[in-house]
């Protein structure tokens, strides 16, 4: 379980996160929702230690990993990377690299975590050619390759930041398929997205950010059974002024 408690962050003088708390479990797909600028991306980056917080705690399987609390721990970075794979909204690889070189990079630097076999499977599934150069990839293909780089790491948790944003329809469908097959089995997934429709049926838990705090967090199944509301219904209630 990843437990996020009371995250606080101010950007210049403006508070972005004012005490965000929620949890995500292994084997579940949790969605972090919010209007533009609500801080969803920031929460993901904070969990990954890419953005320092003003306050709060982040526990991954019981171990504290917030930068300001545990930053001195010697193998903190390795621990975090071994447990969580973060897929940002852009490809973080040198554009001059070819795809096979990028795969080799991952293999080089993530021994024991990188699963080359799974990577090959995904490449075939997405139809990506290894000899292609990253700079020449279309937006859709870049997003797909980004997923390969992130999901081929055998980590119990996966964070995905806007995996569908700006992608063409067919690529979106291909990406959505990823959620139903074995590559995400038994893993805890935290996803932020605007395109709720694509994955509404897959989401197990919903966390809604509003005004820098968690306005609502609920199990989607329970919500449907108890109040007969779909996720989108709830979102309308929360975000309509």
């Amino acid at each position: 379980m990843i437990e996020v408690r009371d995250l606080r962050l101010r950007y210049f003088r403006k508070p972005v996160l004012k005490g965000v708390s929620f949890t995500m479990e292994k084997g579940q797909i949790t969605c972090l929702a919010g209007l533009n600028g609500a801080g969803k991306s920031t929460v993901l980056k904070a969990i990954m230690g890419l953005v320092p917080l003003d306050g709060g705690s982040i526990r991954i399987d019981g171990t504290e990993t917030a930068l300001h609390l545990a930053g001195n721990r010697r193998d903190l970075n390795r621990f975090r990377v071994q447990h969580v794979s973060y897929i940002p909204d852009r490809l973080a690889m040198p554009p001059s690299m070819k795809l096979w070189e990028a795969l080799r990079f991952m293999d080089d630097f993530y021994p024991g975590i990188w699963n080359g076999g799974k990577a090959k499977e995904m490449m075939t599934f997405f139809g990506l050619g290894e000899r292609e150069r990253i700079a020449n990839l279309s937006k859709g293909n870049a997003a797909k390759f980004n997923l390969v780089l992130g999901l081929a790491l055998d980590t119990p948790y996966v964070l995905m930041d806007e995996p569908f944003s700006g992608i063409d329809l067919f690529s979106r469908e291909a990406i959505a398929e990823v959620f139903s097959n074995s590559w995400l089995e038994d893993r805890g997934v935290l996803i932020t997205t605007h395109e709720i429709q694509e994955v509404e049926h897959l989401i197990d838990k919903m966390v809604m950010l509003k005004d820098g705090v968690v306005a609502m967090a609920f199990d989607s199944e329970e919500m449907r059974l108890a109040e007969n509301k779909s996720i989108i219904d709830v979102m309308r209630e929360v975000y309509r002024p």
Partner: protein
């Protein structure tokens, strides 16, 4: 350890074209200049030889070196400026540009200080290999010159004398081991301070910019201050002998370097933001 070496290779590899460019430029300009001057010299001497009244004097490779200091020094200065720029760019390129590689570097399963160390090591390899190249070039220049100019006018020149022809060489390749360690120690300390300043600046705005500016200003005052103090013979006022004062000032630089590394690691672990 292996991971660190791989990362060092990664840093070296992505700079290779620029490095080769710098090496090529230096070799081309220095060897080319020597060839042209030597040929010109040879022609002159052969012409003089034909005239029995004129006895041409001896010449060594020191002559073109001493008379064309700017020409030989120019490519070296280009290298220095490029490397100086890269002290900043080696970090800033990870944030700006299409790839924002900083995400990838901060998420490698190794202590984050390895990223700092790898960039430092790569920079040292660049500097070292360019220095080695310059040494080799001096030998090549001498050989080329000696091959072109007719033997009867030729006089040997030692490497030490060749270095002493040009102030740029004198600073880069000082003839005393002590000055070598001193200059390069100071240079590396400056690189460390700059690295740390960049990492501080890359913390969350606005604190990052402010911290970096304060740190850079403070370190500049301190380090430049030691130079000024030594030049102004402050030791007399302190009742110290000059050499004792030098040891103390050197100690300050060492502490500054250690502090820079510590602060840089800390920034990388705690305050750096993508």
């Amino acid at each position: 350890m292996k991971a660190l070496l791989k990362l060092i290779h990664f840093e070296i590899h992505r700079f290779r074209y620029i490095l080769f460019g710098l090496m090529g430029l230096t070799a081309l300009v220095q060897i080319g200049a020597t060839v042209l001057i030597a040929i010109g010299d040879r022609m002159e001497r052969l012409a003089e030889y034909a005239n029995p009244e004129v006895v041409p004097g001896p010449v060594s490779v020191l002559e073109p070196l001493a008379n064309n200091r700017g020409l030989y020094g120019f490519p070296v200065l280009i290298c220095i400026v490029t490397l100086l720029l890269y002290v900043f760019l080696i970090w800033y390129r990870e944030w700006f540009g299409k790839s924002t590689l900083i995400y990838r570097l901060l998420m490698l399963p190794m202590p984050r200080r390895n990223v700092y160390l790898a960039k430092l090591a790569a920079l040292l390899v660049f500097i070292g290999s360019l220095l080695a190249l310059q040494l080799v070039l001096l030998l090549v220049i001498r050989a080329v010159f000696n091959a072109i100019v007719p033997d009867e006018y030729l006089v040997a020149a030692s490497l030490a004398d060749m270095i002493n022809t040009n102030e740029v060489f004198q600073i880069l390749l000082p003839l005393s081991l002590e000055f070598f360690v001193l200059f390069y120690g100071m240079g590396i300390t400056c690189v460390l301070v700059l690295f740390t300043a960049v990492l501080l600046e890359r913390g969350r705005r606005p604190r990052g910019t402010f911290l970096a500016a304060a740190y850079a200003a403070g370190m500049t005052v301190l380090l430049v201050g030691t130079i000024v103090a030594r030049a102004a013979s402050l030791h007399e006022w302190l009742h110290l002998y000059a050499y004792e004062f030098t040891w103390i000032l050197a100690g300050i630089w060492v502490i500054a370097a250690a502090f820079a590394v510590w602060l840089g690691f800390r920034a990388l672990n705690r305050t750096v933001s993508v």
